[in-house]
Symmetry: C2
Subunit: 282 residues, 2 copies
């Protein structure tokens, strides 16, 4: 328990990165994507599946580079600037095509490869790399990037509140086959905790979005648990307990961020579609 | 041989669809995507992997619907039209997220599922569904959609010319472990044939793009062979000879279109990036 608390302090630099937000957080997301993909791929060693990490690195770095170029392209008002071409969605298509193509070509050493090697590479890039990337996109959204805090608050808030609610009141098992200790009481406590914490955040730091903070607190809390369970399913099938031991007592990056991978996209899409696009109709 | 020729006639309706181009071809690509994904998934039965076809159908239909909405959005000049919001690349991100999320949630019946079930679903949607979708996008490009012919000409041209060059002059094996009959002589013949046929097409039907037709004829011919070999790798690992027997003597849709899946994106990206965006700099 003492190791756990002390190791928790290692998370402090991450807090600084979230406070700085913007490009610092964008770069932080890139680093976390790469580390998490590494842990994800390593987990498949037990199943004798060998995904290709260099392809994942190239693909994830390209994704963040393209995002940067698009950011610059959209904010460049000079109509003749070459960077303008990066405002097109074609580059996202090209990224998907390049990523999948590289993974398929990886199979060409047919005797050394299994189909799973390519499929895990594809899955890892999209699940770990792309899901995390949406947090980076959120960090670059002017006026709305304060909502990045909700990604963290809902993920960790749900986790902690569910733990205490489960320990004190837990009776009915939630999904014993995936995660035997989880209970319905814990899940409900987690959702309530997440909504309350998100509401408090809205009240003090983003009053104009208070209602939206409560809605996000509810939605993200639910997907947060799915994120946690998804990681459990992978680990169970891989036959491992933790993805890594980077943070003693906490496991690897991916053990800590399994829920964040799911709350990230939800907050991002809520911000873009509900909060930003809604302005079109008003 | 007679069956093969007669069955070839079944391909005639496809020619009509390519001639009509535009939305008809767009719809045709959707149908072919869905059929090809079905065959791809069915091939995994032999390996006792059960991908989820309904998820693939929903995902692929959503991709085409979003493409349609974005087409309308970009061409709607009225700034206050609700359809305008679909011009954002966010919807493509949402599509990726939704697709991967659905496949991961499919694993939650943990006892009935293997990790491979989800990973094959993801791979199939991106490899078969998305690659084919780029042809649909190309079909909607005004002034450039005549280049759809090059997708067909390079894929089938390479295949046929490589076959005859290989039969008459073939000596040096290309990749005996993947496809034992293919030779370097065949590959070179295929590339030459593709360049010549693409050049002839340019000369008669798209004179303003003649040089580009020759370049596409060369590039697409090479990826065409990779497309063919990729399908061979999958089939070899699955332990099947053909993906299906929809067209007697020709195998399934995916056996016929394995190269088209690769030439499609190449012609599309060439058209958008080299031909369309290049105008920005001029």
């Amino acid at each position: 328990m003492k190791t756990r608390v002390l190791s928790g302090l290692i998370m402090l630099p991450l807090l600084v990165i979230v406070i700085l937000n913007g490009w610092v957080l964008y770069a932080g997301c890139l680093v976390i994507s790469l580390m998490a993909a590494y842990e994800f791929f390593r987990g498949f060693r037990e199943l004798d599946i060998k995904p290709n990490y260099p392809i994942a690195v190239c693909s994830i770095v390209a994704l963040y580079l393209l995002g940067m170029l698009r950011y610059l392209a959209i904010r460049t008002t000079d109509g003749f600037s070459p960077v303008r071409v990066f405002s097109s969605e074609t580059w996202i298509y090209l990224w998907i095509f390049g990523t999948v193509l590289a993974c398929l070509l990886y199979l060409f050493s047919i005797e050394k490869r299994k189909l799973e090697d390519a499929m895990v590479t594809i899955t890892g890039i999209f699940y770990v790399g792309f899901f995390c990337y949406t947090i980076g996109e959120l960090a670059l959204m002017q006026e709305l990037n304060i909502l990045v805090w909700l990604v963290i608050i809902t993920a960790f808030g749900t986790d902690i509140c569910a733990y205490f609610a489960g320990v004190t009141m837990g009776k009915h098992k939630l999904c014993p086959k995936i995660s035997p200790k989880k209970t319905w009481e814990g899940a409900i406590g987690g959702i309530l905790g997440s909504v309350i914490l998100s509401g408090l955040f809205g009240l003090f730091f983003a009053k104009e979005f208070l209602i939206h903070c409560l809605v996000i607190g509810f939605l993200a809390s639910i997907v947060s648990m799915f994120g946690d369970l998804t990681a459990s399913i992978f680990k169970r099938k891989m036959g491992i307990k933790d993805y890594g031991n980077l943070i003693p007592g906490h496991g690897g990056i991916l053990d800590r961020f399994d829920s964040v991978l799911f709350t990230g996209p939800v907050v991002y899409f809520y911000a873009v579609i509900i909060l930003q696009m809604f302005c079109f109709w008003l």
